[in-house]
């Protein structure tokens, strides 16, 4: 079935106006990014060319409803080879920022973020890790003072993004 809907052009402009998103409009859909992408080759859920197409056509809902934009592994293969010098990875960061602001943050990411704020680490220190370290003669991990880190996160607005998420959930 064909769909009739208006293209939401302001969406691509919105992305282009954000830090990191400036080059999004240059994409001419050659597919170099997709064939460079190690993630795209392992999962059908992620195809950078397709996400750019959706952004350029203004399919805002579709971009944010799937978790695709969070799958980029920031390997920069695509960015190195893009003939239009689109800064794909930076565009994905810009998209993620918009998504997070609007409450589309996947659970795993918010868990990481809270872990970072609370413990200063993304990966929590488990019993297993402690035991392993002891076995191979490494000193136990110190707890980290998170005060300074929290200040930085507050200045960048990182904590507000998360609070918004909390309120919504």
């Amino acid at each position: 079935m064909t769909e009739t809907k208006e293209f939401n052009v302001p969406f691509s402009k919105e992305v282009a106006s954000r830090y990191g998103g400036e080059t999004v409009m240059l994409c001419y859909q050659c597919g170099t990014c997709a064939s460079s992408c190690p993630v795209a080759k392992t999962t059908e859920k992620f195809n950078p060319r397709e996400i750019f197409r959706l952004v350029l056509l203004g399919e805002r809902q579709e971009v944010f409803q799937s978790n695709a934009i969070w799958l980029c592994s920031s390997c920069y293969n695509c960015q190195e080879r893009c003939p239009q010098m689109v800064e794909l990875v930076d565009v994905f960061f810009a998209l993620r920022n918009i998504a997070a602001k609007e409450g589309h943050l996947p659970k795993i990411y918010s868990e990481f973020a809270f872990a970072l704020m609370n413990d200063g680490r993304i990966v929590p220190v488990s019993k297993f890790i402690e035991r392993k370290r002891e076995q191979i003669g490494l000193p136990p991990l110190k707890t980290i003072g998170t005060e300074a880190l929290r200040k930085i996160l507050a200045v960048t607005g990182f904590d507000k993004l998360l609070l918004k998420k909390e309120v919504e959930s």
Partner: protein, 806 residues
């Protein structure tokens, strides 16, 4: 000095203007001005009896200054000046102003005010007429001979055209043989005929008839009298000026005497040295003494000095039956005199080895389209067979990759425009002869925009060529099976493909020939952002450069196919003919003149002149002055704007003329809005003022117009003088900021306006009183809008007050 007798002619355009302008009032005003001896009113003055009236006034009443108020400003001006000159009056003593479009139409709602403005305009012309000086005609020699640089398809075509028309032509080619890149292409699209034909002229001129297909192979170009072909030669110096250049050529030694060689090939047979043949994409070897293909011009072998052992060997010398091999030849320097130069240096293939992911140069089976063309050529290294260069085995699978190094911001931004067609042509040639070969083309967009080009795309599909929409990310090599793997996304199916193939063809970008930059410096012409020679204006002045007398054609300006290159060659040849045909260049001395008393020791004007018309000349040990070439100067006046000492003036538009017009046009008011002086250029900016009248856009009569040749002419003191003489604001109306007809004029005045604003602030005057407006001809409404807006702005500011003495 003779007494001034000014004749003023007012056209009421068939009485349509009488409803707006009070002609009786204007005439009685004019009659009261001393020196105005004749005032006539009529329907039109640029043809018929009106024009006769002007001629009579000049001849019988001895009027020596003529002012005509006429519509159709440019056309009528040409006719009136022509007639006045014929009647014995100098061209510069005729002024044509446009009361209709600059006054009556835009102010038709306020007839009284319009009449006053018309008086001011006429008074300005009268005041200017009083100080005009005659402009003389100059003649410069124009040699009927042309230098054509580049012996490829365009250069050969241009040289042939000119030689056929009786011009003396020097065709120079850097390489040892004629032909250029096109000759290596094997076949051409869209005609599918051979490319070699352009390379091998014979001497039988008479066999060609007008019905024969134009094939340079049979055209006998080399035998056309008046055409001199210099191969192995380069331009090293250009002196002189358009119409009369002195060219220094350097001819590299060929080591084989052109008059003695009979192309018997004995030398090549005995030559013991073999090196890769770069003409044939290094797919085979050639000897150190060689000719590239059997039919060639000149039909003379050449020694490659990089590889020849010269006197250590001498085998060729011994075997040559005509003693043509001369191992002791030295480079020869010669000079020729020509009137014009045609640059036809073409383009070359981009070296794709910088694009690391495609591994060109590393994997032998990754080749370019031009290299494939050599394979497909029956004269070529494989005799038309398609092989893998790595092992010489036949290629069964071929993948083309489009847009390699073009449409790529990392290398070349632009679309090289011919690579799609080249790949389609090659794919068809392969599929036709070897249907069993599997051919795929990976593309971003297929561009087949020319006549009969789409048929190639269709035919390729019919023949089973696979088209994959996707740009490959990497080419890799499996050393075990010696197979290449092209990694690409079929974006239409959203599927990732790893295409196994024997041969990858890169459709590489086409870039400017080597030495383009050096030649541009020698010729003093511009190159564009992509490194090609810059055409003066692609729409209005194609194949021309901003230097009169130097023309461009073929791939020197951008990658082109053979038909377009030929067409451009005809165009450049015709322009050279137009330029030189009469044997002289006649030009009005509407040029800049330097006051040597003030001028000295700076280099502002030579740098700012868009036409390279000014050079610095030593007057004694320590000092230099600027000297303007009357031939090169186009009279824009940009040098006046830049001169820090105000030492330059224009003969046809002196600064004193501008001053007297400024004073006069502001001296009659007749309305109550703040007076504005609008300086308009004579190009786009001025044209938009004309079109404001033509389209009947309204703006108030406080806006007074003075035209200057280019806004770059204007100096800060010109703005200040306007303000001092009663203008409450100044508008500068010029071309769009990237569309100045004299290149940089508008950008220069932009900076000057910024400086003027700062200065005004110092005097306690609001800087908003001076503004720049960029318009084009069709934007008459925008000029009117700007004029209204400026008036509104000044009304808000209130009357001008000086807080300090100016």
């Amino acid at each position: 000095m003779e007494n001034l007798k000014i004749g003023v002619f007012l056209s009421d355009c068939g009485k349509v203007l009488t409803k707006i302008l009070d002609f009786d009032n204007i005439i009685s005003f004019l009659k009261e001005i001393p020196d105005v001896t004749v005032v006539e009113r009529g329907t039109e003055f640029w043809k018929g009896s009106g024009l006769q009236t002007i001629v009579k006034t000049i001849k019988e009443q001895k009027a020596n200054r003529i002012i005509v108020a006429e519509s159709l400003p440019k056309l009528s001006e040409i006719k009136i000046v022509e007639a006045a000159e014929a009647a014995g009056l100098n061209q510069n003593f005729v002024q044509v102003i446009d009361l209709k479009n600059h006054c009556a139409w835009p102010h038709r709602n306020v007839p009284k005010e319009a009449t006053e403005k018309a008086k001011a305009m006429l008074l300005a012309s009268v005041e200017r007429a009083k100080i005009l000086e005659p402009i003389h005609k100059l003649e410069f020699p124009a040699l009927k001979s042309v230098l054509v640089i580049g012996g490829g398809i365009s250069g050969i075509q241009a040289a042939e055209d000119l030689a056929d028309l009786g011009f003396e032509v020097h065709l120079i080619e850097k390489a040892p043989f004629l032909g250029g890149i096109a000759a290596r292409a094997g076949r051409f699209f869209p005609t599918d005929d051979c490319a070699a034909c352009i390379q091998s002229p014979t001497s039988d001129v008479k066999t060609i008839t007008h019905t024969s297909r134009k094939c340079i192979y049979r055209s006998g170009i080399a035998a056309i009298s008046g055409l001199k072909i210099h191969t192995n030669s380069q331009v090293i110096k250009v002196e002189g000026q358009p119409g009369n250049y002195r060219i220094t050529l350097e001819k590299k030694p060929r080591y084989v005497n052109e008059t003695k060689c009979i192309s018997c090939n004995l030398c090549s047979e005995v030559c013991p040295i073999e090196v890769p043949d770069e003409y044939n994409a290094n797919l085979m070897n050639r000897k150190a003494i060689y000719a590239i293909v059997p039919n060639i011009y000149p039909p003379t072998y050449v020694i490659d000095e990089q590889s020849c052992k010269f006197h250590e060997c001498e085998k060729c010398v011994q075997v040559c039956p005509t003693k043509a091999v001369e191992l002791d030849q030295k480079p020869e320097i010669s000079t020729i005199n020509v009137g014009a130069i045609i640059v036809a240096t073409g383009f070359k293939e981009y070296d794709p080895s910088v694009i690391k992911e495609y591994h060109y140069g590393e994997y032998h089976d990754v080749i370019t389209n031009l290299e494939l063309a050599r394979m497909l050529d029956a004269f070529g290294p494989t005799g038309g067979r398609i092989i893998r260069p790595s092992d010489g085995k036949p290629a069964r699978r071929i993948v083309f990759v489009q847009c390699v190094g073009s449409r790529d911001k990392r290398w070349n931004d632009y679309c090289s425009s011919i690579c799609c067609m080249i790949s389609l042509k090659h794919a068809i040639m392969i599929k036709t002869v070897f249907p069993e070969i599997d051919v795929s083309i990976c593309y971003i967009d297929i561009r087949t925009t020319g006549r009969e080009h789409e048929e190639y795309y269709e035919k390729a599909r019919e023949l089973g060529v696979k088209f994959i929409k996707g740009r490959p990310t990497e080419i890799s090599h499996d050393p075990e099976s010696n197979v290449l793997i092209v990694d690409v996304e079929d974006s239409l199916l959203r599927r990732f493909l790893e295409l196994e193939t024997d041969l990858v063809i890169l459709a590489t970008a086409m870039v400017p020939s080597e030495d383009t930059q050096t030649l541009a410096e020698i010729l003093k012409i511009d190159i564009d952002k992509d490194g090609f020679f810059k055409e003066y204006n692609a729409k209005l002045r194609p194949t021309e450069t901003k230097m009169r007398g130097i023309f461009l054609c073929g791939g020197a300006t951008f990658p082109k196919d053979a038909p377009s290159s030929s067409l451009q060659a005809h165009s450049a040849a015709l322009k050279a003919v137009k330029f030189l045909n009469t044997g002289k260049i006649v030009k009005d001395q509407r040029t800049a003149v330097v006051n040597e008393e003030y001028c000295g020791d700076c280099e502002f004007c030579p740098v700012s002149c868009p036409y390279n018309a000014i050079e610095l000349v030593k007057i004694d040990e320590k000092h230099v002055v600027a000297k303007v070439s009357d031939l090169l100067c186009e009279g824009c006046g940009i040098c006046i704007g830049t001169c820090p000492l105000n030492a330059i003036d224009l003969r046809h538009f002196k600064q004193s003329e501008l001053l007297s017009q400024t004073k006069a046009i502001l001296s009659i008011n007749g309305q109550d809005k703040p007076l504005i002086l609008a300086f308009c250029c004579s190009e786009c900016g001025g044209a938009s003022v004309d079109s404001a009248g033509m389209t009947m856009s309204n703006y108030p009569t406080n806006v007074r117009i003075v035209k200057v040749p280019c806004t770059g002419y204007l100096r800060i003191e010109h703005f200040l003088t306007a303000i001092k003489n009663g203008a409450q604001g100044v508008m500068v109306v010029g071309c769009m900021s990237d569309g100045c007809h004299h290149e940089e004029g508008i950008k220069m005045v932009e900076k000057r306006i910024d400086a003027a604003k700062t200065l005004l602030k110092e005097y306690g005057i609001e800087p908003e009183r001076v503004e720049l407006f960029n318009t084009i001809f069709v934007e008459g409404d925008k000029f009117a809008e700007a004029a209204c807006a400026m008036t509104g702005r000044l009304e808000k500011l209130g009357p001008l007050r000086f807080s300090k003495e100016v």
